[in-house]
Amino acid sequence: MVKKLKTNDKHINKLARLLTGPNAILYHKEDLLAYDCDGFTIHKHLPRAVVFPKNTEEVAKIVQYCAKHQLPFLARGAGTGLSGGATPLNNEVIISLVRMKKLISLDVENRRAVVEPGYINLKLTNSISDKGYYYAPDPSSQYACTIGGNVAENAGGAHCLKYGVTTNHILGLEVVLPNGEIIHLGNDGIPDTPGYDLIGLITGSEGTLGIVTKITVRILKNPEEKQTVLAYFDDVEDGSRAVSDIISTGIVPAAMEMMDKTAIEAVEAAAFPVGHPKDIEAVLLIEVDGISAGIEEQITDILNVCTSRNVREVKVAESEQERARWWANRKTGFGAMGAISPDYLVQDGVIPRSRLPEVLSRINQISEESGLRIANIFHAGDGNLHPLVLFDANKPGDTEKALEAGSACLKVCADVGGTITGEHGVGIEKIEEMRFVFSDSEINAQTEVREVFNPDNLLNAGKLFPSPGRCGEVKKAMKAVIS
């Protein structure tokens, strides 16, 4: 016998009956408040309820119920997303997948693992490291973010230069479609299922095509050796030229990360200081991995490149602790902004690597014009730039200025042939900026695909795409006339 909940919302009581776990539904304002946004805090909205299914069937039941009663709904993992993908814009029922957090199976011989969507990214690596394996995508939030969320956002990370992003490591998915049907894609992680690559399409669709409930991922053998180099440059341009030079020598580093002066100030003031010199313009963190016998040669090449680009100081990590410290310093870089600014807005542009110096100077200009400081942290190897616009939301007008500056940074990225987001997703944050890179018909091409999966647009509506441009509307109207 299910106890009737203290609410006038009849749907809440009905949803509660579909769930079997303890305290599996939240519906009081005080509890819902923690779900009014994700890592993107500029816009907040309360959900109708938060439900905690414990298996795929419960997810499917909830979805079927929502579909039947036309209740908007969306899926949420750890809520570490940075573009508002999990923010309930339409008073959604949030389907939290964090209680589905099992490692279902591990098949070392065939190098794959099956996890539930609430499984934490770093936990996968930690739980297979004793066997010598790891899961390659390593977003900075990997301590907390879920693999389900990684699939939704096609998460990247510091090491995707060599190993690729999430989509390159997903072999199979179980998905609950917006009508509540459960489908299996890439059975057992077997490649090239006949038909369109729905795994590839759903990965990175920001939770608008379906809810992923099981994920088969590729796992990799730990490289025999890793070496990490830290290089300080007095000139950002030298640093960015060094990045291109290193790749031109034929090395594909596992990671190449750069931080500028403002970013250095923040990480040094925060939880994991390394002792970077205060007056340095850029720090470059380079990691190479692979067969030990080949590493030394690569390190020598890297040191030579750095020297030829006027490096002030360059050193190789001497211990695992030192390496870990350097990485902790870098990986907590966003959060560290809290130490030097009340608020920040992180952007996520990508540019062709060769345009880095030019783009950085244009970002500097934007900073000067807006009067806001902009710190730059970036995955230099793949051109993924994270300008962090520092502002104070309590200062009237500051938030708007920050948004404008952030958008201007993305415009610069788009103008040099890049894109507006490399790993954080569009969410609600970059909807308007989609127009920097896509025409109306190109946006329409994408919403057409969404319609196939999510015809009523109940699942995570209002994300990713700007409201249809004229072209799209005309086309739709024409279709209606034809049929």
């Binding site: 065939n110 489908i183 006949p194 067969i291 080949g294 030394e296 990508v350 890179v437 091409a445 319609e451």
Partner: protein, 441 residues
């Protein structure tokens, strides 16, 4: 005559010398057209496609035709759209290691060009001297080195696709990391040209390795258990092979003169690392196996032959025998069973069989030749084997007539309506490559 009408109507946007009327549109492999058009610009492609769509004409897209025997149930289309003349490099930014090319560019031409810049497209595919990059990507072709390279979906970062209504849809871009909007590239890669004409392709490149080697391990007594345990222990080391391809005895004989199961393992890295891995393998070598190391010309010779063992749809099969090519996907180590079963077909079905499969990626390619009924029976048998291991079989090459009997893609998946739905959204009139893909989409 429909052809003459077409030429007249094409006149406004395509010069006559780019149109060829085909005397006979029928071809043993199907996928022909009454007229072949050879556009050499994006505008021309757009105009042809738009014209066809507006006038309810069917279009079949072709590169150099190596995959002509791959799918397709329809009678000859009105228009065979050849991208042969739409070739060449559009943009190569050496420092960014990205390359944009026209779809009709022949794969090896690309690789030769890139070699001068010490770069390459990290893909390997069949018939690289013939196959166009557009075809490789549309059919999602891959070969032995997929283990180290990844496949087309991992390499393509941007596409320019001409939709049936003539709109040019860009997906992805020129940068290696991009999550703006849906990952539409994935939709087009492997779509068999059923959604749009892939016209331009942007790929990420890799540096040419400084050194490369090929290690061949042959088991003397045909004992696949030896290979299995060797591979399991190899995969558990930190070696980084780019291929781990098992060759069935007949194929091994053709390529190495030794008619026994052979494992082809390639390594690409700096010299010291390649040498180290080679040495390591020697230590790992089990008893009753022989190991050969091929380098430079010998290695290249091996791979050149390896990539041309299967049927080439652009070359007519003159013999009476039926040729088929089957791609079986299973879990990595189940490749052993599939190759073993394939090898048995020689005796059980009296066929020529050339089979190989990647123990690091799970894809087997089995080329068979023989009497029609034996080929048909072998296909059914292999599909049964694939299904037994939870995998699937796709027939990559089969004469047109046989394709009417054998479903080359296998049964429709339960979610077929999604695939069909996507097709309907993008190509509601089924203008492009009609019936070429799963479930006749």
């Amino acid at each position: 005559m429909i052809s003459s009408t077409l030429i007249a109507e094409f006149a406004s946007f395509l010069p006559e010398n780019k149109i060829k009327v085909n005397d006979s549109a029928d071809h043993p492999l199907g996928n022909g057209g009454k007229v072949t058009v050879y556009p050499s610009s994006l505008d021309e492609i757009v105009n042809v496609v738009k014209y066809a769509n507006d006038h309810d004409r069917k279009v079949t897209v072709v590169g150099s035709g190596t995959k002509r025997g791959f799918g397709g149930l329809d009678k000859p289309a009105d228009i065979l759209l050849s991208l042969e003349n739409y070739s060449g490099i559009i943009e190569h930014t050496v420092g960014n290691m990205t390359l944009t090319v026209k779809a009709g560019t022949v794969f090896n031409q690309l690789q030769h060009y890139l070699k001068d810049h010490k770069q390459k497209v990290s893909l390997d595919a069949a018939w690289p001297d013939h196959a166009t990059i557009g075809g490789i990507i549309a059919a999602n072709d891959s070969s032995a080195k997929r283990l180290g390279y990844g496949s087309a979906r991992d390499v393509v970062i941007g596409l320019k696709t001409v939709y049936p209504d003539g709109s040019i849809i860009r997906s992805g871009g020129k940068v290696v990391k991009n999550v703006a909007g849906y990952d539409m590239n994935k939709l087009f890669v492997g779509s068999m040209g059923t959604l749009g004409v892939i016209a331009e392709i942007t790929m990420k490149l890799r540096p040419l390795p400084k050194d490369e080697t090929l290690v061949l391990l042959t088991v003397e007594n045909d004992d696949l258990e030896t290979i299995r345990s060797f591979v399991v222990s190899l995969l558990d080391t930190q070696l980084e092979p780019t291929s781990l391809e098992l060759l069935a005895p007949s194929l091994s004989e053709k390529l190495t003169q030794i008619p026994k199961y052979t494992l082809a393992m390639s390594f690409e890295d700096v010299e010291s690392s390649v040498a180290y891995q080679e040495d390591f393998l020697k230590k790992l070598k089990p008893a009753q196996t022989t190991m050969n190391v091929l380098k430079q010309e010998n290695m290249e010779h091996f791979w050149n032959r390896f990539y041309t063992i299967g049927p080439n749809g652009a070359v007519s099969n003159t013999g009476d025998e039926t040729v088929a090519s089957i791609k079986v996907s299973v879990k990595n180590l189940d490749v052993l069973e599939v190759i073993k079963e394939s090898n048995r077909l020689r005796d059980s079905h009296n066929l020529d069989v050339e089979a190989h499969g990647g123990l690091g990626h799970g894809i087997c390619q089995i080329h068979v030749k023989g009497a029609k009924s034996d080929v048909v029976s072998a296909i059914h048998h292999l599909r049964g084997v694939a299904e037994k291991y939870g995998g699937h079989a796709v027939i990559k090459h089969l004469p047109y007539k046989l394709r009417q009997e054998i479903n080359v893609w296998g049964e429709n998946p339960p979610y077929f309506y999604l695939l069909d739905g996507i097709k309907k959204q993008i190509d509601p009139k089924r203008t492009l490559n009609n019936t070429r893909f799963v479930g006749g989409i």
